[in-house]
Each structure stands twice: as C-alpha cells, then as structure tokens.
C-alpha cells in the first residue's frame, strides 16, 4: 500500500495552503484522507470488475468446452449445453436490431433535423423519450406480453415477441445517442449541402447521416449489447423453457443466453453453477468485444472535423 500513500502524499503536497501550525497539518490530513477516499471509490468499482471476471472464469473454466456450444439443455449437467440459447440470442438480437435501428434513427432524424421545435407534440415526444429510457426493463416484457395477448397470439414464446420487447427497450437509447451524433455534425456541413441546391432530405441522407455514422454506430452497438445481456423482459415471454431444437425463424420458440444462465443459477447442483459460469464467460466475451468495438469506433472517428 506504500505506493498508494506515496501517491496520495504527492497529490496532497500540490495543495498550497501555507498557513503554518496545527491547522495546516489538520488541513493536509483531511486533504489526504479525501484523496484516499477517492482512490477507494475507484478501486471498489475496478476491483469488483476484476474479481467478478476472475470468479466467473474460476467457476466456469472447467465447463468451457465444445459441449457448451453443441449440446441442448438437459437435466444431466454433464450432457447439457447452451446451443439453442446461443442460436436463440442471435435470432432475437438480429430481429431486435432490424426493428429498433431503423425506427430509432428515423425518429432521431425527425426530432433533430425536421421537427418544429416550437410544436407541442414534438416537445411531448422529447419528454416521453427521456421517460421511456428510465422505465424498468421488465415493464417492456409486460408490454410485449399484453400486445401478443391482444393480437390473439396464444404462444407467447416466439422470437419476434422477444425482439419486440427488447427493441422497445433500446429504442429510446438509440434515439438519444443518434440525436447526439447528429447534433455533433457541424451546421456548416448542412449549409454547404443546401447551398448547392440539395433538398433537406438529400442533405440529411447524403451529408448529415453519413457524417454521424460513427456516433450512431457506437450508440447502437452499446444499445444492442445491453439487449443481448438483458433477461428480465424475456422471462415474461416464457423464455425459460427447455428448448431441444435450434430456433430457426421469427415465429420459432426461443431461449437466450442470459435466460439460460438464470435457469442454471436457480438449480442447486454445483455442476449447473459451473455451466452458468461457463455460459457467462461466453456472454462476457461477446459483450466485451462489442464494447471494445464501440469504443474503438468512437476513438477512431472522434471529431474529425
């Protein structure tokens, strides 16, 4: 711990309260204590992250083998795998992206580029988008469940139902991040296009949107990674079922990786906990890759103009 204290002291010595005596000593001590607290604050987050990852690997490493990718769920842990969950996650996230990205980007373009700022409707919409982003995810599952019931779909465990719930969940996130990306495009760029005789739609399509793509991509990837790790809304759609086939379409039954992990953690046998940890490692690797991609895009294209 000497290095921490030394660093803290170095930080404290930069403060220049120069009134001598006891008061100054006390002030220095307080500054030092404050800095130590700040360090601890950061360490709590960082150490937990490291411990969480290490603990998951320690528990799941033994079970991280090909069976995980090729086998179907089973009541015998040695024969169980997450194959349908992995395929199901791919289907659900693919459908979620197909629903949420066009709608979210379109809504953001309207609000940022075309909407009349003074119109009441648009102000309501802006407030609603903010509010929707703060609604608990499980509520979106209830919305999807009700919608399916309303449409008379008796089987709630279908890929498109799950995708609907997740798409509604991440829609506000995509709208907000796309708006930020559009706002970051300098006004001069739009003016340059309009001054050449381009219409406003052409300007958005050929200039503003292309210039905002890195920002939109970053926000969208982060939103999708959130959807990929989300389980709560899908529980309401009967995601926690034994699936002994490969999900193969929008109307197919499904389970996803987070739900499969949840199912396994609820089982008292330790072998199932190993399976849960192994599947978690796979999920974490995918999510870390997505996060890394998003951060890389952001760093590469940050404010080029």
């Amino acid at each position: 711990m000497t290095s921490t204290v030394a660093a803290a002291r170095k930080g404290a010595s930069r403060t220049l309260t120069s009134t001598g005596g006891v008061r100054s000593m006390w002030g220095k001590l307080r500054s030092l204590g404050f800095l130590v607290f700040l360090w601890i604050s950061l360490l709590v987050a960082l150490i937990t992250l490291v411990v969480l990852i290490l603990d998951t690997i320690r528990t799941g490493a033994t079970r991280l083998d090909t069976r995980l990718f090729t086998e179907y769920p089973s009541s015998r842990p040695a024969e169980a795998g997450a194959r349908p969950a992995i395929i199901g996650s791919a289907w659900v996230i693919g459908a979620t992206a197909a629903l949420a990205i066009p709608l979210g980007v379109a809504a953001a373009v309207h609000l940022e580029e075309f909407a009349n700022r003074h119109s009441k409707v648009n102000r309501y919409v802006e407030v609603l988008v903010q509010n929707l982003a703060a609604i608990p995810s499980i509520i979106y599952g209830m919305l999807a469940l009700s919608t399916l019931a309303l449409m008379g779909v008796s089987n709630k465990n279908i890929v498109i139902g799950g995708a609907l719930a997740l798409a509604l969940l991440i829609l506000p996130v995509i709208i907000i991040s796309t708006r930020e990306a559009l706002r970051a495009v300098p006004r001069e760029m739009r003016q340059g296009s309009l001054a050449l005789g381009a219409t406003d739609v052409q300007t958005v399509w050929r200039t503003t949107l292309p210039a905002a793509i890195p920002g939109i991509a970053t926000g969208t990837i982060l939103a999708l990674s959130r959807a990929l790790g989300e389980a709560a809304p899908l529980l309401l759609l009967g995601g926690l079922v034994f699936i002994s086939f490969d999900p193969n379409g929008l109307l197919s039954g499904f389970t996803t990786m987070p739900i499969q992990i949840f199912g396994w953690t609820g089982n008292p046998q330790a072998e199932f906990h190993e399976l849960a940890a192994a599947a978690s490692i796979v999920l974490l690797v995918i999510l870390l890759a997505m996060n890394g991609l998003a951060i890389a895009i952001r760093n590469r294209y940050q404010r080029r103009w």
């Binding site: 604050s41 950061l42 609604i135 919608t147 990929l228 389980a231 529980l235 849960a276 974490l284």
Partner: protein
Amino acid sequence: MMTDTRTPAAGSPLRSSLPPGDPRARSITRGKPHHGERVVKVALRLSAWLSIVITLGIAISLLVPALEFFAEVPVTEFLFGTRWAPTFADATFGVLPLVTATAWTTLIALAVAVPFGLGAAIYLAEYARPRVRKIIKPVLEVLAGIPTVVFGFFAINFVTPNVLQSLLGLNVSTFSVLAAGMVMGVMIIPTIASLSEDAMTAVPQAMRQGSAALAANRMQTSLRVVFPAALSGIIAAIVLGISRAIGETMIVAIAAGSRAQMVTDPTMEGSTMTGFIARAALGDSRVGSLEYNTLFAVGLLLFVLTMIVNMISVQIVRRFRQEY
C-alpha cells in the same frame, strides 16, 4: 490599384450547357416536384410519434389487467396489507412485503453506489490526468455493460460465501437482500459516476480558478465550488440510479430470495416487486386469470413508483439548474 485580369471571352464548358439568357437557365420556379421527400418526412415523423404509442401502450397494457385485479382485491388491502400470498388457498394480496424488500435492496444499493460513484466522479473530473481518465472511463463502461444475470450469479457465488459469510462473519443464508443490494450498488456505480462526472466537467473552469485564487486547495474547490455548482446534474444522476435500483430484476431474482415477507433486517431474504414478477412470469398463467392480473397490478405499482421518482428528478433539476 485595380488590374483588370478579366479574360475577354467567357469560356468554361461548365457554363455552356444552356446559352446565356435562355430563360430555362434562369427560372427559379420549382423544377421537379419532391413528392418522395414528403413521404419520407411523414415516415420519419411517424417513427418519432411511436414513442407516444409506446407510452400509451404501456399505460393501457398495465392498467387494463390491473383494473380487473382491483375489481377483485380492494386497493387498500393491496397497498397496506402485510401478507403477500397470492397462490395460497387463503390468498392475500398485501404488497408491503414486496415493497419493503425493494426498499431495502434500493437503499443498500444507494449506500454503496452514491459515495463510491461520487468519489469516482470527483476523482475523474477534478484529479485524474487525461491519460488516466482515458483508461478508467472505458473500464467503467465495461462494468456498466456486465449483464445483470452475471452480477446476480456473482452475488450468490462469491459475495455471499466469501465476503458476507467469511470476511464479515455475518450469519446470512444463500439469499439475502444485503447481497443483492450490495452487488446492485456496484452495478449502479458507473451510472452515477459518469453522469456526475459530466455534470462536474460542465462547470466552467473560471469557477475553479476563482476558488483557487482564494487559496482554496483542490479538495475545498471540489467540495465547496464544483460540487454545489454541479448539484442538479449530480442529483439527476442519483435519481436515475434509484430508478434503476427499483426496476432491477435479475440480480434480486437470483440473489434476494423468493420468500415474500416483511423485511426488517438486511440479512433476511425477501421478494422484491420485480423479483415477484420475474418468478410469477415463469409459471404459465392464463390471460385474464387473477394470477395473470396480479402480475400487472404489481407492474403498475412499479411503473408508478419509477415515474414518481423520474418526475422528482425533473423537478429537482429544474429548481437547482445553474446557468453558467
């Protein structure tokens, strides 16, 4: 001094598509109609208005089954009853056990997330060098991106046995609101830290310099100048943390336990509102049955609570907003 460098005859081929003076080259009335663009704009507007549909959809989809529920169960019994046993033969629907469990997990999460989240934010905004910040911020983002099922599993697989039982010597069982709340707190740290940091970085440098000019040290400047100036943003961050804690599902479903009881001690297990919904959803309840409607009554309460929290946040931000 003016030199006339004008070329005697205009010559660029770009200008020769139409003879000069041809009225077609000078007309400014609409050339071709842009009907397609009108369609595009309408489509964009409808996408934006979808958020209205979604909000109404949420309200209706929660309200209709909930109203059916309240036709059978009096609202007062629901809100003030202390026994939650919807599946028992002598079914009672007092929601307070779920509410107390939610309150405990939320408070414990805040006890972890607020001090450490703000500490991290102050460090990043006021102390860290740009290079350090550039490393730590993505790490916090990664923490924020960990799926909550993994957090929940971490709570029962590591925190309860190693931290609570061995390290702190507490007498807790596998499931407790304490373990769930603590892990949830860590999950919320990045939310509070990054939003608060944004608020503090937005405080103008001139205010810091003004404070420094009065011989305040960095701690005094952070706590007495920057922190109050950023207060509205910080409170908004904390309130967002609260609504995330109330709505968080998977951590409590895995780690808080399933017994619906009035929680009076953090080492007890308890079923939160979200935890109840998650578990009840696993059963295959028929649409329209009391069991199905119960789900939505609790969902409605959850929705109303988070909306109230959000509105408080909006009000606070409005009242404390500082114009720099």
